[in-house]
């Protein structure tokens, strides 16, 4: 853009030709990159979200930890009796499974509100849309970190043969799930902003999925039918994190399912994001 000509009168100027705006795909990529570059903003906002939720309470965010601990304790005793299994085996499986389930389910249900929840900001300030998704996922990671405190305690109370080298598997597992969390919150956030009956639909689906996913019960309990539960992507996500912590082998398809989910989901979500990004401000 040159600026050589004299400042034209606002009323008469049609002199400067504006360059072609970048394509939708380029704009979407810029949005995602700018979002990452503003990491200081979404990390601070997410920390604040967690703090504000428990403002004025003594324990602060550790209320979350306490709630989860009580739930795991209660459910552990009842269900170990119900399923006639040893508490020593059952409680570690339940606590690890439930904590990761809460993380994954939290991202899916909150993902419906990625854009709706911050409509006031979208309507007033220009910020990369991806920033809201990053904030949401980071907030859920923080909650996971608070809940995670329970896991070492449970594993200390009910010792298991942990293969320490396998704990490295947690890293790629968490990275993949975090990436999936980003695309899920972008995609569900957009669909929910456009169609307002999606959030309640998703909420009830997640509730049903909780009971059909081997979180509270061991997948082996299905016997020869275990394969269909193993194809459940929610199970795959929990399995790659639970396996290494409990020293159990990871199910056959889990990693493959997770990688496919990441790649395929990112592609679909990006296509939607590139196509409808500019409409989000009108939808919310």
């Amino acid at each position: 853009m040159t600026h050589s000509q004299t400042v034209p009168d606002a009323g008469t100027s049609r002199i400067v030709e504006l360059m072609e705006p970048p394509t939708r795909v380029v704009l979407a990529v810029i949005d995602l990159v700018e979002g990452v570059r503003k990491s200081w903003l979404w990390t601070t906002l997410a920390q604040q979200d967690v703090k504000l939720r428990y403002r004025g309470s003594i324990l602060g965010p550790f209320w979350q930890t306490l709630t989860t601990a009580v739930m795991i304790g209660g459910m552990g005793f009842i269900y170990s009796k119900l399923f006639h299994t040893d508490l020593h085996d059952y409680l570690p499986m339940l606590s690890v499974g439930l904590i990761f389930w809460m993380f994954i389910a939290g991202m899916v249900t909150e993902g419906c509100g990625t854009f709706i929840a911050v409509q006031g900001i979208i309507q007033q300030v220009k910020l990369p849309f991806s920033l809201h998704a990053y904030r949401l996922v980071y907030r859920n990671l923080l909650t996971l970190a608070h809940n995670f405190v329970i896991i070492p305690i449970v594993l200390w109370l009910f010792p298991h043969s942990i293969v320490w080298t396998r704990l490295i598997e947690l890293v790629p597992g968490l990275v993949l799930i975090t990436i999936i969390g980003v695309w899920v919150s972008v995609l569900l956030g957009m669909i929910s902003a456009r169609f307002r009956d999606v959030p309640p639909i998703v909420a009830s689906i997640v509730q049903v999925v909780f009971f059909v996913t081997p979180v509270m019960w061991p997948v082996q309990a299905l016997g020869t039918n275990a394969w269909w539960a193993q194809l459940n992507p929610f199970f795959a996500a929990i399995d790659v994190l639970r396996g290494p912590l409990l020293g159990q082998p990871t199910a056959r398809y889990s990693w493959a399912i997770l990688v496919i989910m990441t790649v395929f989901g990112c592609a679909v979500s990006f296509a939607f994001f590139a196509r409808f990004r500019s409409r989000i401000a009108f939808w919310v």
């Binding site: 606002a10 009323g11 705006p21 380029v26 810029i30 403002r55 456009r194 169609f195 307002r196």
Partner: protein, 288 residues
């Protein structure tokens, strides 16, 4: 790839680097903004799916989706040192245009290019947490403007002083009156002189003494080659603050130019509107 780089690089920053005067501008060419209005069933996914599967091409009608053209064919150049007043009746498209200028809405058609840091005061509430104190909110709102909390903390006292809220600055914001909210929002948004300041008409709700102070501050940085865009229906305020005007009517630019002329044209429209209404009332009266 080339256009990628061009968009990513910050033009005014480069100029400051080279010691050139910063140049900020807002340019629009044939900009249209269409608002999809979603009402009732068009918000429902179920209805949308049923509509596409059963009616095919008629889906759009079945969705009862209406597009309202909020801005049509707007071409404007706003350059260094311009203080532009946007005037028009309610629903003329003032706020929509401000949102396009602030980068919140992307035009449905046409081109829009801007250069310079933008600070938009469209709403007093943005980023404010009602339970936090005024001082805490200075940091919060600053973050949404892209200012790092460290930097904002250093400026907090300066901002607090400008608001003249006294000890209220350490009270929760929910106890504030509308006028106090305006003081706080304006002080935060202008604590770092932006290249482009975009303000909606709520500012007019501030008291006279604060308005004077705000005007002095805005004048100060507009002199430093910045841009002000202010929407208002108060012709008096616009004449005081602005040197050029844009008159919008039903989403179109009617006139642009020196503020006096534009205000005169606006008054003709108001006159026309009153006359039109009078004619309608008279016609309705005759109809009875």
């Amino acid at each position: 790839m080339r256009c990628f780089v061009r968009v990513l690089c910050k033009i005014p920053l480069a100029h400051r680097f080279l010691g050139l005067a910063s140049l900020s501008f807002l340019r629009l060419r044939n900009v249209c903004v269409d608002f999809p209005i979603y009402q009732g069933s068009s918000r429902s996914l179920k209805k949308a799916l049923l509509a596409t599967s059963t009616h095919g091409n008629l889906a759009r009608d079945a969705l009862d989706r209406i597009n309202v053209r909020a801005l049509s064919d707007v071409s404007i150049d706003i350059l260094n040192g311009d203080r532009v007043g946007l005037i028009g009746l309610n629903g003329a498209g003032k706020t929509t245009l401000l949102k396009v200028l602030a980068g919140v809405y992307e035009p449905s058609q046409g081109r829009f290019v801007s250069s310079g840091s933008v600070s938009s005061l469209l709403d007093t509430q943005v980023g404010l947490n009602p339970d936090a104190t005024g001082r805490e909110n200075i940091i919060l709102r600053g973050m949404y403007m892209g200012i790092h909390p460290h930097e904002m903390r250093m400026r907090a006292d300066e901002v607090a002083a400008f608001t003249e809220l006294g000890h209220y600055i350490d009270m929760p914001v929910r106890t504030y009156s509308a006028g106090m909210m305006i003081r706080l929002a304006f002080s935060i948004s202008t604590c770092i002189p932006p290249d482009i300041l975009i303000m909606d008409e709520w500012l007019t709700a501030g008291d006279a003494q604060f308005l004077d102070k705000a005007q002095r501050r805005v004048e100060e940085f507009v002199r430093g080659s910045s841009i002000l865009v202010l929407a208002s229906h108060s012709t008096q305020l616009v004449e005081q603050w602005c040197n050029r005007g844009i008159l919008l009517h039903q989403g179109r630019v009617v006139t642009m130019g020196p503020i006096k002329e534009v205000v005169a044209a606006y008054q003709r429209i108001i006159g026309g509107a009153i006359l039109e209404a009078a004619v309608q009332i008279a016609a309705a009266g005759l109809g009875c």
